[in-house]
Symmetry: C2
Subunit: 346 residues, 2 copies
């Protein structure tokens, strides 16, 4: 049995919209390259090996809890892993990011994808989650995560990252029903994968829509939303669900209606503006990740501004995008500590 | 003397807010890689040589006027050329885009930049403009252009394109006054360069703020706007000024107040929404560039939608960003022809 004093559930209570004694804080990509302890492990194994070795994945997942004192851990993994499980060869080339040497660009390509047995193909993720839960022993909750179908398809169709995602967008205009087949297949695998994460101990889930902002509002609703809704509807009520979008200021009117527990937004608009558009929702975010490159007094000043902006409702404090590799660890710590100090309710 | 029948000034009249018999149309990056005629010239010379050979730059500038029938030509050049004139070594590596091997990251680096004599260092641009004016002989007006100081500095500080522009943003948070020195130097050279373009025959100017959307509204106002305002104020009243921003939906409240003649926006928000925020302004845009990858009937349908969206005021029809290299020429033609056919005022 855990003693109740050892349990920090600020994050989960805030996700559920409850008032808390102070605001919880964690950092997207908090297990990552800015940490010397992470880089030390990456010197020994490559990125995919790290993802697929549960002991190591658990170790880097827990590092920022010890080092920064964040209020939640997020599993170390990559959003593209379920696509590999579907049969798409996935490579990470040093410096170039992810690559799919055989992009999926036709209905025939879609038909060749597998509906994987996730326990077999992604069991290493679930094993890492179980290890993290056991080792954290209730200190902080653990998030699982996945990409949205649109964002996963972006990489799979393009064959990796891209400036303009021309192949993806050409398909979306030229044969939207064909692309919908792919998005639906990705949604199906994602549901099994995310349910597997819950079964393995994930206490909340975040869906990353990194490329949702490529679409205008009407097309986001028509193309990206249906497969996302399938996932949201399948997971609703199990654990708190967070939806994150980058560059999605123009999508807020649609996001207002999305039945997730928490909306996580980038830094481009103040949270008070976001709240005016999306109404009484739990928000997560949204310090400019580059603000952590500032001198510490400036970080503290901007954190205070962020807390004021977010004070109109439940607020999980975070950055507006992943932490940048150049950020000094002391600066990330200063951010976490400022949130803890400045968001105490008297 | 030109006969009045040969002169197409739809574009200039619309920029000045006048009602016209139909809407003008041109395409960002219309002189570019999607055109076989452009690629044929690029097989013979590299990118910088093309920019610096007035006869060739004039030839590719005029190609889309002949091939697509657009209502304006835009000079073929690169926004980074004035930085090279300031003493920054500039390279274009095939496939990798622009690169500055010696990035400018300190006040000392700024102090080493030159205030160039633009007629000496950028005279090839002015020569190309004079050739274009002579060869077009009034058929359509010719636009000149430049980057905004923030966007030019983004490349110069980072050393090229970048995913996160960490060096630029670190400087903006760590020593904003130092970065302001750079932005001001870039603004000074830009004013001389753009005035030189006007003297050489540019009949309108577009300022490209490709990376303005990296900044939130408050920081855009504090960091990017002052050097931009210096340029706008220096050029105001000379020729129509167009300001273009990519990914700037969240900046519209600030853009409403920018004293340029035309606001050019990306495809992420419908023009009716943009007009609600910026008020009675001349707008330019904003078909999704990827829509030109659709089958032609779909292009025509979306062009009709765009014309309806833009009908609340003066409207220069364009894409929301540069034309994509994969676009078939027939598709670009179909867009231009649809605008001409469907936007006639009865």
């Amino acid at each position: 049995m855990l003693s109740s004093r050892a349990v920090n559930d600020l994050f989960l209570r805030t996700c559920r919209g409850e008032a808390t004694e102070r605001r919880p804080v964690w950092i997207m990509r908090q297990a990552g390259r800015y940490l010397p302890e992470y880089r030390a492990i990456r010197q020994k194994v490559d990125f995919l090996t790290l993802c697929k070795t549960p002991e190591l994945a658990a170790e880097v997942t827990i590092q920022p809890v010890d080092i920064l004192g964040v209020d939640a851990a997020i599993l170390f993994a990559d959003i593209l892993l379920p696509l590999e499980a579907m049969g798409a060869e996935l490579q990470f080339v040093k410096g170039d990011g992810p690559s799919f040497p055989h992009p999926v660009r036709t209905r025939e390509d879609v038909a060749r994808l597998r509906n994987p047995e996730v326990d077999e193909t992604l069991g290493y993720v679930f094993a890492a989650l179980r290890l993290v839960r056991r080792e954290l022993d209730g200190r902080v909750p653990v998030l699982g995560f996945g990409g949205t179908p649109w964002t996963l398809a972006a990489y799979l169709v393009e064959g990796g990252g891209s400036k303009h995602f021309e192949h993806l967008l050409a398909w979306s205009y030229g044969d939207p029903e064909g692309l919908a087949l792919l998005l639906d297949r990705v949604a199906g695998t994602s549901i099994a994968y995310l349910k597997g994460q819950i079964a393995a101990g994930a206490q909340a889930l975040q869906l990353f829509d990194t490329w949702g902002g490529l679409l205008d509002l009407e097309r986001w609703r028509a193309v990206a939303l249906p497969p996302l809704r399938r996932i949201v509807d399948a997971l609703k009520g199990e654990v708190p669900l967070i939806y994150y979008v980058n560059g999605g200021s123009h999508l807020l009117p649609a996001l207002a209606e999305l039945p997730v527990d928490v909306l996580s937004v980038d830094w481009r608009q103040p949270l008070s503006t976001v709240r005016r558009i999306v109404g009484p929702r739990v928000l997560q975010g949204n310090l400019d990740p580059a603000a952590l490159l500032a001198p510490i007094p400036e970080i503290e000043r901007r954190t205070a501004d962020l807390l004021r902006e977010g004070s109109g409702g439940p607020h999980v404090v975070n950055l507006g995008h992943g932490i940048l590799p150049m950020v000094p660890v002391e600066n990330a710590k200063a951010f976490v500590e400022a949130v803890k100090r400045l968001s105490l309710n008297p």
